[in-house]
């Protein structure tokens, strides 16, 4: 009964996001989509020619391999980072608001609340909406890479394994995001803080140290343990094994296990912290 009403509220809330989005539909078709496509294509082109330059004319075949290696990194990393950043952004968009007439501060959650959509449901529907957008973006990267630049993934690529790795990696990142979302309360009344420094630090470090652009073996030994603290490391290792070397599921067990554990612990901890701290801030600290 209760879940049924949550589901209906979710559907209405999701429709609202879509509706707001379709308002900008002309912007999407005429400005956003072409620039996004161009952006992806130009980004891929620079990597394409860069790999050709680095490998040199004699290294036929190696340039293609190098390019595929990079493509997997840059296509997937926005999706992972989105999992880290979204929970905090959802909180921010719900609780931020301008002071209006009557000394009345109007945050977005009040809009949903007055329409009978609980703020948790509103946050989840917003999250699902951006997840879809980022999935489309990742798919565009891969599609352009394959069809425009002729990337060939290994002859016996393990797509199912790769998808599983990505999904688990995303959940692990989401867990980290839930933990880091709690830092939002430090900035609740600071309308000028547009980037959360904690999620920014995590995603930037994870992008570089997690192996988006290079294998972790090239890092100095003392840095490697740090790299393995990020879920990104397991995702990229597993993904490249599965797609470029066609590793079967058994060969991915180390990454799968690590990501499952990471996701379980982080999501549980994150959800618990988020609930308790929000409750504390709203009721006890009298912040809202």
């Amino acid at each position: 009964m209760r879940w049924g009403s949550y589901l209906r509220a979710f559907a209405r809330s999701f429709k609202r996001s879509l509706k707001d989005y379709t308002v900008e539909v002309y912007v999407w078709w005429f400005a956003y989509l072409p620039t996004e496509l161009l952006n992806i294509a130009l980004g891929l082109a620079s990597w394409y020619y860069y790999t050709r330059f680095v490998v040199g004319p004699s290294g036929a075949g190696r340039a293609e391999w190098f390019f595929s290696y990079i493509l997997l990194g840059i296509a997937i990393v926005p999706l992972l980072n989105m999992g880290v950043e979204q929970p905090e952004m959802a909180l921010r968009s719900l609780y931020r608001g301008q002071v209006s007439t009557g000394g009345f501060r109007v945050p977005l959650w009040a809009y949903y609340y007055l329409a009978g959509v609980p703020r948790g449901v509103a946050a989840v529907s917003g999250f699902v909406f951006s997840l879809l957008q980022f999935l489309v973006r990742a798919a565009l990267y891969l599609a352009l890479g394959v069809y425009l630049f002729g990337v060939e993934l290994g002859p016996s690529a393990n797509y199912a394994g790769a998808a599983l790795i990505c999904a688990l990696g995303f959940l692990a990142c989401l867990g980290v995001g839930l933990v880091l979302a709690n830092t939002f309360w430090l900035f609740i009344y600071r309308e000028d803080v547009h980037v959360n420094p904690f999620t920014w630090l995590f995603t930037t470090a994870a992008t570089v140290l997690g192996g988006t652009y290079f294998p972790l073996e090239v890092l100095p030994a003392w840095l490697r343990p740090l790299s393995y603290a990020f879920p990104h490391a397991y995702v990229f290792e597993g993904l490249r094994k599965a797609l470029l070397r066609g590793a079967p599921l058994e060969a991915l067990s180390r990454e799968l296990l690590a990501l499952t554990a990471y996701a379980a612990v982080a999501i549980l901890l994150g959800a618990l912290l988020l609930r308790e701290i929000e409750r504390y801030v709203v009721y006890k600290a009298r912040k809202v």
């Binding site: 209906r8 209405r12 809330s13 429709k15 609202r16 509706k19 707001d20 308002v23 608001g97 301008q98 002071v99 209006s100 007439t101 009557g102 000394g103 009345f104 501060r105 109007v106 945050p107 977005l108 009040a110 809009y111 949903y112 609340y113 007055l114 329409a115 009978g116 959509v117 609980p118 309360w185 430090l186 900035f187 609740i188 009344y189 600071r190 000028d192 803080v193 980037v195 959360n196 420094p197 801030v281 709203v282 009721y283 600290a285 009298r286 912040k287 809202v288």
Partner: protein, 374 residues
């Protein structure tokens, strides 16, 4: 009366926490500036304050009642309405709307209230580049309400002609009407209106005030109506609650309050004299509680007095004037207005104690963002 209770408040207390900045707060920069800002604010001088916006407020609102919430700026009217609407939580005490506890049944509360904060709602509810109707529909769809509700709400606030105009084109008063329309798409047992008609021109306001009365009389809904404009309250409210520094200082009909405060009625009398003006004026003034004005223009005496009971005074005046052979030209009785009641109440409570409690420092310094705002 035997009518059902729609809203109950019992010893409600609402405290806000804020920080008074007395020291240096560094400018913000770029990059990791948020971190530095937090550090900077910790190094700056702060005094933690707890503002008690509501202090032991209790009352009930019954079915079909329109209750005015009056009080000076900062007396807690908005806070009270926000608590009943579920937009903020009470610190202590209990509040119920249609049997739902505002804290425990928070999620179900929107089904039984309609919150109309006037212009304050616009920035939240409307996308300015879209049309009036699009914005109302978006809200109605989100709330799962039928499309007809949008049309009806537009008709009620007389915005049908502007339905296809963009919101940024609207004048202040029409924006205020749009803000009201967002509330009216939903019917519910309790309407919470917070200075709803600010900026609305008189001819439309008259209709909207009628609408408020209609909601109560025909639909059986109750209305809590917070306002400074006492003439509005006088027109629609069957009862008023007056807040002062977060406390209820009066809760009754305006008439009873006037009686309680021993507010006097004023009586104007004009007489064409056939006797000595001074003598008649003295006799009449002696019968009144206070003479406010005595004027003689030719053979016409104009007298204004304040009396506790206009009935007795007028009866006496008629007899006395006739007895002297003079002719009564004009009598007018003015009952005390809500404004008189309100001003009298406030002057009585002026010497209430300080409401700001300064908490001991060093307790809750983790959240340093909170200065002002809500």
């Amino acid at each position: 009366m035997g009518r059902a209770e729609v809203a109950v408040a019992e010893k409600l207390v609402k405290e806000y926490e804020s920080y008074e900045i007395t020291g240096f707060v560094p400018m913000t920069g770029f990059g990791l500036y948020a971190l530095f800002t937090v550090l900077g604010e910790k190094l700056g001088k702060y005094e933690r304050r707890v503002v008690r916006a509501l202090d032991g407020v209790s009352f009930t609102v019954r079915e079909g009642e329109v209750v005015g919430v009056l009080g000076p700026n900062g007396s807690g009217k908005t806070t009270l309405l926000k608590i009943l609407a579920g937009l903020t939580m009470p610190t202590r005490g209990r509040a119920e709307v249609a049997g739902l506890d505002v804290v425990k049944d928070h999620e179900r509360l929107p089904r039984v209230i309609t919150y109309i904060p006037g212009l304050a709602a616009i920035s939240l509810f409307a996308r300015p580049e879209m049309t009036v109707e699009w914005n109302l529909r978006r809200f109605a769809d989100l709330a799962g309400l039928p499309r007809e509700a949008v049309r009806e709400a537009l008709e009620l606030v007389e915005l049908v002609e502007d339905a296809h105009r963009r919101v940024y084109e609207l004048s202040t008063g029409k924006l205020a009407r749009l803000a009201i329309a967002f509330g009216l798409v939903k019917r519910s047992p309790l309407y919470l209106m917070d200075e709803p008609f600010t900026g609305v021109s008189p001819e439309v306001k008259v209709k909207l005030l009628e609408l408020v009365k209609w909601l109560a009389s025909e639909q059986g809904s109750s209305v809590l109506y917070a306002t400074h404009i006492l003439s509005e309250a006088e027109q629609v409210c069957s009862r008023v609650i007056v807040l002062h520094q977060g406390r209820v200082i009066a809760d009754d009909t305006p008439r009873n309050l006037a009686k309680e405060l021993e507010l006097m009625e004023s009586v104007d009398v004009e007489v064409r004299l056939a006797e000595e003006a001074e003598k008649l004026a003295r006799d009449l003034a002696e019968r009144a509680d206070r003479a406010l004005k005595v004027e003689v223009e030719g053979d016409v005496l104009k007298l204004t007095v304040a009396v506790r009971s206009s009935r007795d005074f007028v009866q006496y005046a008629v007899e006395r004037v006739h007895a002297g052979g003079s002719k009564l030209l004009y009598v007018r009785v003015r009952e005390p207005t809500l404004e008189d009641v309100y001003l009298a109440l406030l002057s009585k409570h002026k010497a209430a104690e300080e409401k700001v409690v300064v908490a001991p420092p060093g307790v809750c310094y983790i959240f340093t963002g909170g200065v002002g705002g809500g």
